[in-house]
């Protein structure tokens, strides 16, 4: 099997923000040496064409390099064979029909170099040579496809392993009570990055093997809480999510300005947002209502002039547990 170059970890990550695809990336990462065929069958310039045809048939190949004293002098492809057959000239020697202008590449070149040559030249195979002209292999479009597929499969396996490890996190670690705490500092008025923490939290939960509905409930609650820190605080705030197999606890803390009338703030549609904030798509007056709808318990503690502390909890049923580590003493 062809593996990616040693020392280079090839992993498909959730963060693959690049506009280029993974295949395009791999075509730069994989070197020609990683995908080419070595130990290729070669012929000599003086081999009669009927022998060449017989070799091609027996070995089921469609082309071969022609070597004279270990030096590359040409290449014979199906096209050359057809020309020979049309002329009924099978007794001629390979030298007569071989293509003398051989396109070569270096084994250290990235695979994309070979791709470019295939696109521009319409040949079926390229000779891979060392700087001294010695042939080290042959590369075909099939070799490239196989190399890319193998690399993608390796990516996929590594990603599977990572997912597996994450989803077994809680059962692999032994303690009386294990939890994973995620912390984020949220800046006030940072609408560009607003929601980034929530996105990461939702992804973390899915990676830990949480049920999608739980991830959605947590995602919506945290997103509203995060946007509240961005819109309504003086100095931003602090977001903390504690993940346990049976419970998810979310807390936000800020140092002001605080909510003057908490019962009003909890009414659906009640909003103190400015017209500017509404133009950004916020201030529907549904934030706290949405949060309350998504969580099992909500405690809102706010003092004008001091700040607000929001505590949310979502309790998981055994079948919804995160990370397959439902505590043995919590049988439901």
């Amino acid at each position: 099997m062809v593996l990616p170059p040693a020392g280079k970890k090839v992993v498909v990550s959730d963060q693959s923000a690049e506009e280029i695809t993974r295949v395009e990336e791999l075509s730069y990462e994989l070197k020609i040496a990683d995908v080419m065929s070595r130990d290729v069958f070669s012929i000599t310039p003086d081999m009669p064409m009927h022998d060449v045809i017989e070799h091609f048939r027996q070995q089921r190949i469609s082309g071969a390099p022609v070597l004279s004293n270990n030096t590359l002098v040409g290449i014979i492809s199906m096209e050359d064979l057809i020309r020979c057959l049309i002329a009924s000239d099978q007794d001629a020697i390979a030298e007569k029909y071989m293509t003398k202008k051989v396109i070569t590449v270096r084994s250290t070149d990235p695979t994309v170099e070979a791709m470019k040559l295939f696109v521009n030249s319409r040949v079926g195979r390229l000779a891979v040579v060392e700087p001294d002209g010695k042939l080290v292999g042959i590369i075909t479009k099939g070799d490239i496809t196989r190399g890319l597929l193998n690399a993608l499969q390796t990516d996929y396996k590594q990603e599977e392993i990572r997912r597996y490890r994450a989803s077994h996190l809680f059962e692999d670690i032994e303690s009386d009570r294990t939890s994973l705490i995620l912390r984020y500092n949220i800046k006030v008025n940072d609408f560009t990055h607003g929601g980034a923490a929530s996105t990461n939290i939702k992804k973390a939960l899915l990676r830990l093997g949480a049920n999608p509905q739980i991830a959605r409930r947590v995602g919506i609650a945290v997103y509203e809480a995060e946007m509240n820190l961005i819109i309504h605080t003086i100095n931003g705030g602090y977001l903390r999510v504690e993940i346990e197999p049976h419970r998810i606890s979310i807390e936000t803390t800020d140092d002001g300005p605080g909510i003057p009338d908490v019962s009003k703030a909890l009414k659906p549609g009640y909003s103190t947002a400015t017209e500017e904030i509404r133009e950004l798509g916020f201030g529907a007056g549904m934030g706290l209502t949405n949060i309350a709808r998504c969580v099992d318990t909500m405690v809102l503690d706010s003092q004008p002039g001091k700040g607000t502390h929001l505590k949310l909890r979502i309790f998981l049923k055994k079948e919804e547990t995160v990370g397959e580590g439902w505590p043995a003493n919590k049988e439901s």
Binding site: S16, T192, T199, R216, G219, P268, F282, M286
Partner: protein, 124 residues
């Protein structure tokens, strides 16, 4: 109905690369206030909105939205497009207004994914 059908019904222009045209769309939802979206949307919807900032994509991500249609030919800022690509949510711009798009999709058989609000409206 899938993403490809939606694009053709709204005569939309796709703004993100590498989208899955086969992705199924279960229903539709139209809103410009993101908390309204989060209040009642069900998973698998196409979100119709006049809002163009990156929060649309964040909201879509939280609400498991399968495609976003920007109404009235809006052209979003680059960061919105980039985020949509990162989160693999198709971003489509349609020349029509919100009412027209809702009508076209509804007429073509797309159901509403706007859950009814259970609380009494305007309990004054």
């Amino acid at each position: 109905m899938n993403v490809e059908n939606i694009i053709s019904l709204v005569q939309g222009k796709v703004l993100t690369n590498n989208i899955n045209l086969e992705q199924e769309i279960i229903g539709g939802f139209g809103a410009d206030l993101m908390s309204d979206v989060l209040a009642s949307i069900q998973p698998g919807a196409v979100l119709l909105t006049g809002l163009c900032n990156p929060q649309v994509v964040r909201t879509a991500m939280m609400a498991d939205v399968h495609a976003i249609v920007l109404v009235r030919g809006k052209c979003p800022p680059q960061e919105t497009v980039e985020l949509a690509e990162l989160e693999k949510i198709p971003l489509i711009s349609s020349p029509f207004g919100m009412f027209e798009i809702c009508g076209r999709l509804y007429k073509a058989g797309l159901k509403s994914l706007e859950g009814c609000i259970t609380e009494k409206p305007c309990n004054s």
